[in-house]
Symmetry: C2
Subunit: 439 residues, 2 copies
Amino acid sequence: MKEVIRLGLAGLGTVGGGTYAVLKRNARDLLAACGAELVVKTVACRNLERARGVVDEGVEVTSDVHALARDPDIDIVVEVMGGIEPARTLVLEAIAAGKHVVTANKALLALHGNEIFDAARRSGVVVAFEAAVAGGIPIIKALREGLAANRIEWVMGIINGTSNFILTTMREKGLSFDEALAQAQALGYAEADPTFDIEGIDAAHKITILSALAFHTPVNFKAASVEGITKLAAEDIEYAEEFGYRIKLLGITKRTARGIELRVHPALVPKRRLMASVEGVMNAVVVKGDAVGTTLYHGRGAGAEPTASAVVADLVDIARLMHGRRANPTYLAERMAALAPQDNTVWLPMDETVSSYYMRIGVADKPGVLADIARIFADNAISIETMVQRGSEPGEESTEIVILTHSAVEGAVRRAIAAIEALDNVHGPVVMLRKEEMN
Amino acid sequence: MKEVIRLGLAGLGTVGGGTYAVLKRNARDLLAACGAELVVKTVACRNLERARGVVDEGVEVTSDVHALARDPDIDIVVEVMGGIEPARTLVLEAIAAGKHVVTANKALLALHGNEIFDAARRSGVVVAFEAAVAGGIPIIKALREGLAANRIEWVMGIINGTSNFILTTMREKGLSFDEALAQAQALGYAEADPTFDIEGIDAAHKITILSALAFHTPVNFKAASVEGITKLAAEDIEYAEEFGYRIKLLGITKRTARGIELRVHPALVPKRRLMASVEGVMNAVVVKGDAVGTTLYHGRGAGAEPTASAVVADLVDIARLMHGRRANPTYLAERMAALAPQDNTVWLPMDETVSSYYMRIGVADKPGVLADIARIFADNAISIETMVQRGSEPGEESTEIVILTHSAVEGAVRRAIAAIEALDNVHGPVVMLRKEEMN
């Protein structure tokens, strides 16, 4: 039983600064919750001058992150630097030194989680990572513990605030993607290089972690099919609205009879679902379990204190464990260990996934085009739910056909699209988006 | 470390049956999650004949619930009978016998929680109750663990599915309360005697429990101000819509500088909030924490398997503890124990709470009435946000004034209403509803 638990904080950026502030402001409540005092012993970061201005007297400041792992007086290492290195090495060093680790690093876990969780299992320490997905929303805890009674069927999340802000702005203000991105950058919601957010990579890191938790598999980022929002046109957002849908960038993982789906892409979501009303930088995750049905978790997915809320919740869990009040185990690591020798998880390739689809096809306004397209759908066993032809203006020679399909296999849809694009009277590439009814 | 954990199931109604089914169907996954097998050893219920038809061979069936507490081979008692007695006695007997308890009984905990948690603390056992609030939504775990870093500011919940179904039906179909209640009864969403649901008592039990968790106080059902939905008129729902609000029955608990608010009443919720879109029998809870901001939790608040999902999650937590994998402590009991000797929680009387208000006033269509009313508001320091007078038809002598106020103290509002009702040209009682912006 420890009366004081000493922390090494690696990183003093947005999340590190927020964590320091929450630990300080709520120290009295946290002492009551943990039965032990959480004390930041050392902060490791690049700008020592700035750090000394942030932390209180008596807190050590160093530029050597590896010193945290070596320090025998540090009980828990909090990794909030981001990036792969030196974060990966620090985390493995801390684990090897028998320290518990709390990390907010989704890229690290999505790419190197198996190595890290395996090391943690062998060292008997906890690697906690609530802050890695959906910021302050306790979705990791919900999946591992709150929904432990359920066989999880699927998880879908709006888990990238930047791209959700851009989509909201496109829809509300009728802007193009580029215009909305510029607004997001001006407001500080998108970075100068927004690639990770707008190309779906950040969301893919997060859904990779949720997938491993939901289905008790190793993390497998390589299995993810990833498509961002950069190619979305304002008119697709408008058509979706007309049909009763909103377009959201979703991270999706599903257990099917033929394997596990893992994918990120924009999708049409029915407006009547709460998910369609998740706007701006907010995040939300829906989980479908066999007993509970769907539950939804909504809140801020980024920002200093929302993310710190998750980091500190992990610290409280570990502190309760160290204080003998018992907390949660390295649960993912344990389940994975049981699986690892005989892991035969089948990850479904994108072509074998099943969705319903939205397509927009530019065509010459001539007789017979529609019949040709309908024939191609039929040949590929794709059944059409709704088809709308935008009436062309007098003098215009081209028009657009918008189609919603019933459930179909992605590979068949891709073959149909290739065949449609090869038609003489079809102009340009076919726009294809998936549709998720979230039943 | 136990390889088999034996359960005594007290009650085989909706929740008991659902719990039995989930334990059986997901046995393999639960074994992996717990590291131990969860085995129902004995079921106690009234109808032994029916019970034998439900449970598998080898499961004991008894009509004596107290036998579960006496049986040395039972490790955990699962109380899913409902009602106060014999549930209370059984739970206390089980605790005294050193058994952990899982209960779904909100009335029991709201009324006798302090006695039960104190006994659990003294016996060193866990009393877990995720199923007591909002069915399958893991809101208890979120409050105790997921949001442990936060100083909670308030909790608001749609936590009674029956009344939410009635409100949804009234709005969507333009029905009166009585008509909507009849529909709910026909569909099995309301009981023959719906008093607990429609008068807000069930919601008050639940918000009492959430309040104790959020603010680390003893449970204090007596502090709750409770108002149901029976007096709601269809026209108030319509007016609310016009102003951009939906009416929801909310359980509310807030920490203020002057004390803790604990109340249940219908309230106007802005349509742009997700809470306004929680329809039918669904439940949702919003928690405001100082670090995370608001997070929302949404799902099924009742039903066999959603509730079983919560019961079994509690079993998994306790099993991990017993199996040496460490689970969560009797957290509420511990925090309360620290508080109990010097508990000086101030519970704010309803008259001292601060809200904004909706009022509907029937008046004679004569000059001066509006001036009289405005004067009374001013005298009571209540500031008006919006005032609408419904234009009376030719020949009609009476009309209605609908008012939305800015924040005001409830006592002042009540005094103003009394003064308004005493005016000569005011007809009948003033309809008053509270408004929650949920900021």
